[in-house]
């Protein structure tokens, strides 16, 4: 599919109740062929945004364009957007082949050609032998694939997926993530993928748009939103995190009560500005070596063994902190024990408050 299109949202808002925006002035430029995830907690406006793009819900304000063409007044049936619903929304009275063939039938594709495209689409999702089944005769994962084939078979300009893997168990979900990525690579179609699972968004996306209370708090590559979150919400929603309250000091350093002052080279922030310092658990190292006076003391409260790594929860300078220690580097620690905590200062990230 070489006809991938760009999708742009400009100032897009939706309010169900007067004075409350379920989606609040969203701006987003999605490149042709890009895989963008909408990541956010339940109720943050992801589905509402998707429904407006698909045309099932009318924006209160703002505009939507596909491939540079405004589609605000285009009816859903003329938008040429493929959508996979959270519950799949398959037609229960039609066979798998008729479900997948439905968009082709609507486009009056000749029978023989349609049959070939249906077969190709079903083969792509690994359901070549299931064309005669009814949806009720398929497992959840198979229904999900049918919904995907149906959304792709008519070469839509954009494909929208609303938590498509939400109902599947973990192993199947991981398998489908890989398959979806493969299909995206093969077809090169623009995809918008809604999820509340940050791991899923990290694994699949070119870029992640982090939703909170109807707004996009940050949009960037998975590495970017993980390493350099711009807001406290993004920092805490994506990955495991320690946020320590601090104040910008002289010369681009940050003062953390109980932890001392760290040089972070943020001369752009005025001294005295309150900030949060993000310390990812995997950047903390624990050791039982002799303490020197400038070392920071860490008291262990809880140790969780994940096999490949340990999660150590404890306190330091009155703050609860979480440290992730690779299994091989784990010192012999017990609950209630005190040890020394070290961190790489260059990995510290400042989040404005």
């Amino acid at each position: 599919m070489k006809n991938a299109r760009a999708l742009s949202l400009r100032g897009l808002s939706k309010s169900y109740l007067a004075g409350q925006n379920a989606v609040d002035s969203i701006d987003l430029e999605i490149q042709p062929g890009e895989f963008v995830s909408f990541l956010g907690p339940s109720g943050s406006g992801k589905t509402t945004t998707l429904m407006m793009i698909a045309g099932f819900s009318k924006p209160s304000s703002g505009e939507i364009a596909i491939g540079g063409r405004k589609i605000d007044s285009v009816e859903p049936y003329d938008r040429n957007i493929g959508m996979v619903f959270q519950n799949y929304a398959l037609f229960p009275h039609m066979s798998v082949a008729d479900n997948v063939g439905f968009p082709l039938r609507m486009r009056q594709v000749p029978k023989a050609q349609a049959a070939k495209r249906i077969a190709d689409a079903l083969a792509m999702v690994g359901l070549a032998d299931f064309s005669g089944r009814k949806p009720a005769e398929l497992s959840g994962g198979q229904q999900q694939r049918v919904a995907l084939a149906r959304a792709l078979v008519f070469e839509p300009d954009v494909v929208l997926l609303d938590e498509p893997l939400g109902a599947l168990d973990k192993a199947l979900r991981e398998q489908m993530q890989i398959e979806l990525k493969r299909i995206h690579r093969e077809l090169g179609v623009t995809m918008v993928y809604v999820t509340h699972d940050q791991g899923e968004a990290m694994a699949m996306s070119d870029r992640i748009a982090v939703f909170n209370r109807g707004r996009i708090e940050q949009i960037g590559s998975p590495a970017e939103v993980y390493a350099r979150p711009q807001t406290r919400f993004v920092a805490s929603f994506i990955g495991d995190s320690n946020l320590i309250e601090g104040v910008i000091g002289r010369g681009g350093s940050v003062d953390l009560p109980g932890f001392g002052s760290i040089a972070v080279g943020r001369g752009d922030l005025t001294p005295g500005t309150p900030v949060d310092v993000l310390l990812r658990p995997e950047t903390i190292r624990l050791s039982k070596e002799e303490r020197s006076p400038e070392d920071i003391c860490f008291t262990v409260d809880e140790i969780v063994n994940y096999g490949d790594s340990f999660l150590v929860i404890g306190k330091s300078a009155g703050q609860e902190l979480r440290a992730r220690v690779p299994g091989l580097d784990m010192p012999a620690l017990a609950r209630g024990e005190r040890c020394v905590m070290r961190w790489s200062k260059e990995r510290v990230h400042i989040v404005p408050r």
């Binding site: 009816e75 049936y77 037609f91 009275h93 968009p103 609507m106 398929l138």
Partner: protein
């Protein structure tokens, strides 16, 4: 369940179904007049019923009126159901009350009303009059059946159809209606049977030429107690049972989540 509840349940069941066990055997009786228990069995009453125009006329009328009522009640009830379930409009709850009111208003009151109102329109003693009255009476049945089906209908399949390129009418024809077909079928059959066994209004406004089966049974019972009435009763009962059976069958027709043998 305690012993006394079981006994109570059995008593209630006997009370409810008792008449069936009297009327049906009686209809196959050899006795010259209504008599229970029957002295012997044969099909005489049924032969009499089907050869007497005083019975076959009303039977035909009942079918015609039931069919007309079914068509009209569906034509009004189906759109009303969609309006009630899918649109918010002013006076919606008042509209729902109005549509369902024939369930509450005593039939004898409605019958009197139709009698005087249709009188001035020249509709008394006509089939049209009975069909119109029965339509009002059965719209609530259609609306109750269809609104409960619509309440369970997942509108996302309609969104899906639209997103795949189907215009609203196409979506209705290819998706909404086929999925709701069993409910439509049940609603139509209920409308038919409601009209078929309705008595009060039929007595008031169906005339000699448009007499329905229940009205003819009532007349016959008052005048001469023609034993063919027991055959008529059994046929009426059979019609009701067929409809209930059809409703049950419709439930069987719905797609069952069968296990895939992958």
């Amino acid at each position: 369940m305690s012993r006394s509840t079981i006994i109570l349940a059995v008593l209630v069941a006997i009370l409810l179904t008792g008449p069936m066990f009297i009327v049906v055997p009686m209809s196959f009786s050899t006795a010259p007049s209504l008599e229970f228990p029957p002295p012997g069995f044969w099909l005489g009453y049924y032969r009499r019923f089907f050869s007497d125009p005083n019975w076959t006329g009303p039977l035909f009328n009942s079918f015609a009126i039931g069919f007309g009522t079914m068509v009209l009640a569906m034509l009004f009830g189906a759109p009303a159901s969609f309006a009630l379930m899918r649109h918010r409009f002013r006076f919606r709850s008042a509209f729902r009350m109005l549509v369902l009111s024939p369930l509450i208003v005593p039939h004898i009151v409605m019958a009197l009303g139709y009698y005087s109102y249709f009188g001035s329109l020249g509709l008394v003693q006509s089939m049209t009059g009975v069909i119109l009255a029965h339509t009002c009476l059965t719209i609530p049945v259609v609306v109750l059946t269809l609104t409960s089906a619509l309440a369970n209908f997942d509108r996302r399949v309609e969104n899906a159809a639209a997103g795949l390129g189907a215009r609203p009418l196409t979506t209705f024809r290819l998706v909404t209606f086929p999925i709701l077909r069993p409910a439509f079928l049940v609603a139509a059959l209920f409308a038919f049977i409601h009209s078929f066994d309705e008595t009060v209004i039929a007595i008031f406004i169906s005339g000699r030429d448009s007499a329905t089966l229940p009205r003819q049974m009532f007349n016959s019972f008052q005048m001469e107690a023609d034993p063919a009435i027991s055959a008529a009763s059994s046929l009426l009962l059979a019609a009701v049972l067929v409809v209930i059976g059809a409703r049950w069958a419709a439930r069987l027709v719905k797609p069952q989540p069968a296990r895939a043998k992958a």
